[in-house]
Amino acid sequence: MADRSMAKAWIPPYLLSAPALVLYLAMLGVPMLLTFILSFNAFDFNKGVIPIFTLDNYIEIFTDSYFHVVFARTFGLALLVTVICALIGAPEAYILSRMRNPWRSFFLVVILGPLLISVIVRTLGWALLIGGSGVISTTLQSIGLIDEPFQLMFTFTGMTIALVHVLVPFMVIAVWASLQKLDPAVEDAGLSLGASQFTVLRRIVLPQVMPGILSGSMIVFALTASAFATPSIIGGRRLKVVATTAYDEFLSTLNWPLGAAIAVVLLIANIVIIASYNRFIERKYAQVFG
């Protein structure tokens, strides 16, 4: 609503946001720009970064099959993790929403709380569980179910499991939020009209929480595609993803321009996927949920 100060001047909002704006321009705008420029520079093992303009880094990324594999692995992993998170996170959110307090609050904290614990710690947990000398392997061996040590460390499966664990709380949050908006009476209305519990779920609840699932999927996908610590620890040197590849270019090979180009491609791919996904969701749900 209007008040005097506002009618008088447009200066206050700019003054109020100036500190943040200056910091962002200096600490975000400039670094991103420098990185963008760097990605077009050349690199020589003896001379380091050569400040000329070249498209070589991008050409290398788009033609070298090594990078094709890395990018395919990363986005394949992201897709798989997203689907699994949706398949287990959405039902769990629904079950939570049907619980009574204090159980509901308790389990909500149990499931969301790990978000506040370092990714390193959570990944370490998986390393302890699924390693060759890990708990699952030794337990299964000792009760004689398997003979060989059973190893998920340094495998795609291991990476997937750990990432699902790290990211599934985000899916629960998103679905939970859309469940909160659900009018509790619609389920009863469905039942009163003779629908079975399953039909109510499929025809009444699911369509209404779909936006939550979709937005949760977007978050999980983006975070998996750019995940670093978990793939690095569980995947190791052999199963590289985009983020770990960029890291190695920067801090092992020291080919900064190539590392910067990988980062730029990752950023753009992320933004393009998120933006088109958003557009898709908006078009699909604009009419229903306005």
Partner: protein, 264 residues
Amino acid sequence: MKTNGPLALIFHTVFVIFILAPLAIVCVVAFTDKGYLSLPTNGPSLRWFRAILENPDFIDSFWISLYLALGAATVALAIAIPASLAVVRYRFPGREGLTAFFLSPLMIPHVVLGVAFLRFFTEVGLSGTMVGLTFTHVIIVMPYALRLVLAAASGLDRDAEKAAHSLGASSFTVFRRITLPLILPGVAGGWVLAFITSFDEVTMTVFVASPSTTTLPVRMYHHIAQTIDPLLASISTVLIVVTVILMVVLDRIYGLDKILIGKN
């Protein structure tokens, strides 16, 4: 009253075990008495907790992480509060763009930010400084702080401010006595979330941390890359316990679901 069927409860149990298993195993392994990773079959031992004290590197890193998180969260809030008020109160050209810009670090993979900051620091000579590191963390935690403060500020009753004003309070008094206390839950929640996010950040920090500014998660990451030993488990256990205590406190004073999910 709606209830969950047996199938749902089984699913729920498995899900909760899946969530807690890795954390539980860390805590259990931490109590081993062996020199290698194993379950504490001979009863719990505090050997690896004592080992933490004998590793000054980890202790130093803990302090670095703590100061870093305190600094980053505080600076982020100091700039997020006025920015939120500007966005919530005024219609001005570029308002939406500004909000999107302030939230944009959420959209940028932390690896990309790490690359960008590393490049920036070598260019301007800020490499390895605590100040530089703090500002990188401010950028990372600012969106989290901003979202909570924005939610609090937009839920604010503007009439209460007008009432205070009409009773003779100056603009500054209105801010100090009415506005700030009313958005305080959002500010406190935002600060804590910013603090935790900064304390846990590893992906970006791994690029810009120097030997003298290695944070705890980064040191743990480097350590894991070499070897996984029970020391990591005991350190992780300490972190888990501290986080759980923090969580309980937060839940009491603010409601954890409010911080993590937003207003509902």
